[in-house]
Amino acid sequence: MAADMRLPNIRKLVSLSLSAGDRRDLVVPGDVITSDSGFMRGHGTYVDEEKLTASVAGEVQRVDKLICVRPLKTRFNGEVGDVVVGRITEVQQKRWKVETNSRLDSILLLSSVNLPGGELRRRSAEDELTMREYLLEGDLISAEVQSVFSDGALSLHTRSLKYGKLGQGVLVQISPSLIKRQKTHFHNLPCGASIILGNNGFVWLYPTPGQQDEEAGGFYTSLEPISLSDREVISRLRNCLLALSAHKVLVFDTSVLYCYESSLQHQVKDILKPEVMEEIVMLTQQKLIEQEG
């Protein structure tokens, strides 16, 4: 039995150093970004009296003529091709509703999933009746954004063997803006577990599967007990992810792995203590800088 009780710490105020205090790329709502009319208005901006103005607090990003402001924390703003992890909230006729941390529930059409049997076949009325056999309320899935509806809701698909229903593992929810965009969001980490970094901030940790059972079409989940050593790795990764997110460090395979390595001298349950979090995040950042430089 262990109970760790303490007084809250007084927050250390980061003094606004001159170099940082003058950063032009950090804006708050109402800040004018530019009055040059040659730019295009992206997310997080609006035009007021011909001036491009920020509507959220965050960092300005320019891509050619397009100006966006990326807030520190926000709901998921999905784009076609994004990998997401989501939870089924409702089974409707011919479609599932999926919670993906977006501003509206996402939709998975019956016609956008691979049904067992493999090949693309017509969805029959019988399939509609047995939808619950594939995916139930509460089930987790990994999927890809297929298209975006006019009201902003996302339409998902799982038509690839890497997508589908998720089995045993742990879900960690962090802010979508902390997920770094990469070529692949599926990683088998060398520490002995696998990770799906959903663009929507839902991260799925699971034991690295032996060989893929291709016949099941992604709807079969093993309920066999997982070994204790695998569990420990997954729990450690989970706590590391929370530590990274608490300190707003970008999450991608390398940062997760460095954080995991930095945490090894601590017990898994101690990682979430504030001073340990701070220490391992600092070590992680050092390693990241070393690797870059």
Binding site: R6, R11, G138, Q168, P225
Partner: protein, 290 residues
């Protein structure tokens, strides 16, 4: 109750983990999450405390008011409990959504804390049968991440510890009536002895084992739970079974034993912390700015 959805496979994962004494966040079955406690955070009260346990956060404010003793106990004061499940904790509690849970929680707290074995109620009496102190213990639920009872009981104990009730002077006026005068001096006050105030330990039965300080996900896998209030000596003062499922007598016995052990151990760091904070004197409060 704020509820979370958990898929079947996740449940199996959590269940097997608890069987192996390694929970999802790395804790063993009898480990608590990180807890932060601070007293005297709201100045309009006579005593207050803020407790956070994992992501669960509660704020307790105690106000002492003069009232009339209950007819059954003319020489005792009493405590009143109110739990505000505010919409801040989860949108489910908006409007009247939190009322039912609030009533359930406050009734249990009343049963656990309002008796002479927990608090010296006689000390709250001002004049027999006429006036007594009524302590209004108001619990405000700010964030909900499982294990509300334990967090609330710790917060209540801490708030009772910090409660300062002004001293009263009773004088007889000419017509034979009594006049109550409150002391203006903030240091001329009465403190409560919180030694016997119990802490609540909630044990959740998950699979064949039980865990303390369950998260919402673990709670979703549990069929039933047992709340046990334990004093610093390890005396059990109240046991209640919560939740829809059933427990067999044997496991209730086991859980009570665990509860006793864990509850007893909970008091030591808590009292140490409260005294430490007191000895620091008027340091700058962190409150919500921390």
């Amino acid at each position: 109750m704020a509820t979370v959805q958990v898929s079947e496979a996740e449940k199996v994962y959590i269940l097997h983990g608890i069987r192996d004494d390694l929970r999802v966040d790395g804790r063993g079955c009898e480990d608590y999450r990180h807890m932060e406690i601070e007293t005297d955070v709201v100045s309009n009260t006579d005593g207050s405390a803020k407790v956070s346990l994992g992501h669960t956060a509660v704020l307790v404010g105690i106000k002492a008011e003069i009232g009339k003793p209950r007819p059954m106990a003319p020489n005792e004061g009493y405590l009143e409990f109110f739990v505000d499940c505010s919409a801040n904790a989860t949108p489910e509690f908006e409007g009247r959504g939190g009322e039912e849970l609030g009533k359930e929680l406050s009734n249990t707290l009343y049963k656990v804390f309002n008796n002479k074995h927990s608090v010296d109620l006689k000390k709250l009496c001002i004049s027999k049968g006429e006036h007594c102190w009524v302590l209004y213990v108001d619990v405000l639920l700010l964030q909900c991440d499982g294990n509300l009872y334990d967090a609330m009981s710790v917060a209540i104990k801490a708030a009772l510890f910090s409660t300062k009730i002004p001293k009263v002077h009773i004088s007889n006026d000419e017509e034979g009536g009594k006049e109550i005068e409150l002391s203006d001096d903030p240091f001329d006050c009465m403190r409560l002895d919180v030694e016997n105030v119990p802490c609540i330990v909630t044990l959740c039965k998950v699979g064949h084992r039980h865990v303390v300080d369950a998260t919402l996900q673990e709670k979703a896998c549990s069929v039933a739970s047992l709340i046990i209030s334990v004093t610093h000596k390890g005396t059990v003062t109240c046991v209640r079974k919560m939740g829809g499922g059933s427990l067999d007598p044997e496991s209730i016995f086991e859980m009570t034993e665990t509860g006793k052990r864990v509850g007893k151990a909970l008091h030591v760091p808590l009292m140490k912390l409260l005294q430490q904070e007191e000895s620091l004197g008027t340091r700058q409060k962190v409150g919500f700015l921390g």
